[in-house]
């Protein structure tokens, strides 16, 4: 499997990374290098092997339903790029 420039552009779009025309070609080469490297995995027969998602074989611990958080809006919004009336602002979203 080898990526084309349009594959890379699709992935960059999914990942919301602006890709300049000059970066495109180099990125294709690098990503293909990495994917060729990980391609080794295909050589192993993994039939019947359960995928391993976590490093520990435990189950989820549950939290009691309790409101323990207080308002930190001022502190959180002190480091925000743009806020008004307690809201985070972004360019107009068209639904």
């Amino acid at each position: 499997m080898s990526l084309t420039i349009s594959d890379v552009e699709r992935v960059a779009k999914l990942a919301r990374l602006e890709l300049s025309a000059s970066e495109g070609a180099a990125t294709v080469t690098q990503l293909n290098g990495i994917l060729a490297f990980v391609e080794q995995l295909q050589a192993v027969d993994t039939t019947g092997i359960e995928p391993m998602t976590h490093a520990v074989e435990l189950v989820q611990r549950l939290r009691p339903d309790f409101v323990g958080e207080t308002d930190h809006r001022a502190a959180f919004q002190a480091i925000a790029p743009e806020t008004e009336l307690g809201l985070y602002l972004v360019p107009k979203v068209i639904e």
């Binding site: 990374l17 990495i34 990980v38 995995l41 993994t46 976590h54 520990v56 959180f76 790029p81 360019p91």
Partner: protein, 488 residues
């Protein structure tokens, strides 16, 4: 003073509790060293002397009250991946170059309560993605043993700071070797605990199922003491293990006699530099002389650990780094026409090249039509790798081998070839995939007087014994006390 910068934490702690030394004096000593030497090594991103000294004064007050624990007044520096309230937490990235964290990480809370004095925040590969600390937005960190070379990574700032004696101990994180490999390249002792021992709360996530924080110090004994301070259950991390508290110094007196050391055939095959092989063989001889038995074991899937890792880690990273979008905190591009551009430009300008590469790889392997071939396949390999270790530990108590196939390499040597850089992790990533504890101790020097690290891997929750095994070696050798020229 030279004695003090090379002293063990226990000795420093004794001097503090006996009031032969004040925490302020100690902090001042290191702050002065940082001011003088950091420009050479670029180990620190942030130093705030006023805050450090305020914490030192508070520590002195506790010391004066007479019932201070072993960490009160000990200066420590954090990899810049740990959130520190009111202090820049950049993760080595332009994306977070303005991020003053509004909260403390669990380990920072723990250590603050234990009386640790925060010396500052340490340089790292951007978002912990790298093996050389060259990808930092704040410039590369230099190896104190040779400033033309890398300190390893991603916790290279932590390694360089301790190696240059700018801090007696530092915290790092290890997702695929990021504590052990720079520890090896800088002549330090560093331990990555079993996954789940150290809370990840407040540690900026790279690859959540692999990340684990741990100490980097001169000796195993120092690591054990600091691990006592950071290990433990945290209900804010669902993967934190709810186990009884342990004293990681309890097995420092462990006898090596009868210890079965497993040597994986695959770790000793081709690929390791001769100078590294020589130092490792010497270290194994020391263990043999202490009564250990060396047995050969197999980790048949270990050579696939790097490709498996470079699917799993980028997949998780691509997801974890989605939150950096220029909306609520962090970098926002100065110019954009609409929301789409706000996102794509903030992210393109906020992230460096390697981070973007891994986000792209991760996005690709999770995307429609490729998930099974890459991500699922890698997760299956992950199980095989973990099972290899289980089988190996049926025949030995610990596994030993090199931490890195080579000593510290020149700055720039591998930056153009991502895959060559990834292969630096050949001996370390399998540990993270399996969730096992691993540590690295200095065991000699290769060409150019560059340190070599011996890696010790153990079964789950075996940290105390592993630290004991490392400590016994450090009772016989003095590699861990060697300092780079020009830092004294």
């Amino acid at each position: 003073m030279n004695e003090l910068i090379n002293a063990s934490l226990r000795d420093i702690s004794r001097a503090l509790t006996e009031r032969r030394l004040s925490a302020v004096e100690l902090a001042t000593l290191f702050l002065e060293r940082i001011e003088r030497l950091n420009p050479t090594f670029n180990a620190f991103i942030t130093v705030e002397p006023d805050k450090t000294l305020a914490q030192a004064r508070a520590a002195d007050a506790r010391l004066a009250s007479g019932n201070a624990g072993p960490l009160v007044g000990i200066p420590l520096a954090y990899k810049d991946i740990f959130c520190t309230k009111g202090m820049l937490t950049s993760c080595g990235s332009n994306m977070l170059s303005n991020f003053v964290a509004p909260y403390d990480a669990h380990v920072v809370e723990q250590l603050s309560n234990a009386g640790i004095v925060n010396l500052g925040k340490l340089n790292m590969d951007e978002f912990a993605m790298g093996s050389s600390t060259e990808s930092s937005f704040f410039g590369p960190t230099k190896n104190p043993w040779d400033v033309t070379r890398v300190p390893g990574g991603s916790s290279g700032g932590s390694a360089a700071a301790v190696a240059a004696r700018l801090a007696p101990v530092a915290l790092g994180t290890d997702t695929g070797g990021s504590i052990r490999q720079p520890a090896a390249m800088c002549g330090l002792t560093g331990i990555k605990p079993t996954y789940g021992i150290v809370s990840r709360y407040g540690m900026v996530a790279y690859a959540s199922s692999l990340d684990q924080g741990g100490p980097m110090a001169k000796s195993a004994a120092d690591c054990a003491l600091v691990l006592n301070g950071i290990a433990g259950f945290d209900q804010r991390d669902s993967t934190s293990l709810d186990r009884p508290a342990e004293d990681y110094t309890r097995a420092l007196g462990y006898s090596i006699k009868g210890l079965r050391i497993g040597l994986p055939r695959e770790f000793f095959a081709d690929g390791m530099d001769d100078e590294v092989r020589f130092a490792i063989d010497e270290a194994l001889n020391v263990y043999r002389s202490l009564g250990a038995e060396l047995v050969q074991v197999d980790l048949p899937n270990s050579e696939l650990s790097v490709p498996a890792y470079y699917v799993v880690a980028p997949a998780e990273a691509s997801s974890n780094l989605s939150r950096f979008d220029g909306v609520r905190y962090g970098y926002r591009a100065p110019e954009y026409r609409d929301l789409g551009e706000l996102y794509s430009r903030s992210r393109a300008q906020g992230f460096g090249a390697e981070v973007k590469r891994r986000i792209m790889v991760g996005t690709y392997v999770l995307s429609h039509g490729y998930y099974d071939a890459y991500y699922l396949k890698a997760q299956k390999l992950r199980r095989l790798i973990a099972e290899d270790f289980r089988n190996a530990f049926a025949h030995c108590d610990v596994i030993m081998g090199p931490t890195s196939p080579f000593v510290a390499f020149p700055i720039g040597a591998k930056t153009d070839d991502p895959v060559q850089m990834y292969l630096s992790d050949i001996y370390t990533v399998s540990t993270n995939l399996a969730g096992l504890p691993g540590l690295s101790i200095p065991c000699g020097f290769g060409a150019g007087n560059l340190p070599v690290g011996l890696q010790i891997l153990g079964p789950w929750f075996d940290e105390a014994r592993m630290l004991g095994i490392a400590h016994q070696y450090q009772q016989q050798t003095d590699w861990h006390l060697r300092m780079p020229g020009g830092v004294a």
